[in-house]
């Protein structure tokens, strides 16, 4: 009986090891166009942001790794003998984390902007993807096209996703997920593009802890109400 149990234990360990795996990657978020008063972005506003990405044991985490901060620049123009001042402000978060727990259907967005922490917890959004018969190669991966409308977080955005079935992980950047393969690239309203530049598989699992910061955990609705005050 003891021998059977020991064999069973080793078998369980072996199965766990053979199925254990981590997907790590680097992705770039590139602002292409603005919305609101003007579509053209300044050089500073158009600067891409870089994130790290880890998927393991049905959880994923995306962390901002490039150094970002808000800035205020003042420029002057001279006309009719007078000096006129223009102030350009770029508001960016210095830290951003996107966390997904697929078992608990949990999604978290944490960021720090102008030294103020935000911690928002929501149900993991699901998408009604439309699979399109179109292919393209992105960073060596053969990708298929899918489209959807993102209505999460009070948005209404036209989304184009390029996913690959070469990576059997149904995840992607930010809150995007649920395609039959890994989302390599996301195009948001033709205004922003998120692309995985590098992806690496490893056999070991990587523990992913639920992130938190000093801010109280809020729903997006409560966060919006608080921000509007």
């Amino acid at each position: 009986m003891k021998i059977k149990l020991v064999i069973l234990f080793f078998l369980a360990v072996l199965i766990n090891q053979s199925y254990g795996q981590t997907l790590k990657g680097i992705l770039t978020e590139t602002p292409l166009k603005g919305i609101g008063d003007e579509t053209e972005l300044s050089k500073k506003a158009a600067k891409p942001m870089t994130f790290s990405y880890v998927f393991s044991e049905k959880k994923s985490i995306q962390n901002l790794i490039s150094v970002e901060k808000s800035s205020i620049d003042t420029t002057y123009i001279e006309k009719y003998g007078k000096k006129y001042e223009t102030t350009s402000t770029v508001n960016r978060s210095s830290s951003i984390t996107y966390y997904k727990n697929f078992d608990l259907k949990k999604y978290k967005v944490l960021f720090t902007r102008n030294e103020k922490n935000t911690n928002v917890k929501e149900t993991l959004p699901s998408f009604d993807w439309k699979l399109i018969n179109e292919n393209k190669t992105i960073n060596g991966y053969t990708c298929k096209k899918a489209t959807t409308i993102n209505t999460a977080f009070n948005s209404s955005q036209s989304i184009v996703a390029w996913y690959t079935d070469q990576i059997p992980v149904n995840d992607g950047p930010m809150h995007y997920n649920g395609l039959p393969g890994f989302i390599i690239q996301i195009e948001i309203n033709d205004n922003t593009m998120l692309t995985f530049d590098k992806l690496v598989f490893s056999k070991e699992n990587t523990p992913i802890e639920e992130p938190n910061n000093s801010a109280p955990e809020l729903s997006f609705g409560d966060y919006s109400k608080q921000s509007a005050k």
């Binding site: 603005g34 003007e38 999460a152």
Partner: protein, 90 residues
């Protein structure tokens, strides 16, 4: 083109005599006061013996970390220059 040249000449000629009023207004960019539009506005206002000079006083760009989009908010300020004969003849 003729109108634009006339405006430019008129502006240079009267710039020394023009009286910059303290009156000013801040307008949102919903009016889309781009430079070309500003020239058109001047052409119209010169005929009315005054000039509005508009310039961008602020541009704020904010990245929405929830949906990935960048919002641009701009504010323009306009100053009125009076070119009426009673003031220019002084």
């Amino acid at each position: 083109m003729k109108k634009f040249l006339f405006t430019a000449v008129a502006l240079i000629a009267f710039s020394g005599l023009a009286v910059a009023n303290n009156e000013s207004k801040t307008v949102s960019n919903t009016e889309k006061l781009q430079l070309t539009r500003e020239e058109n506005t001047k052409t119209k206002t010169v005929e009315e013996k005054d000039v509005w000079f508009c310039y961008k006083i602020s541009e704020s760009t904010t990245v929405n970390d929830f949906n990935g989009e960048t919002t641009v908010t701009t504010t323009y300020k306009c100053t009125w220059y009076d070119l009426s004969p009673s003031l220019t003849q002084e």
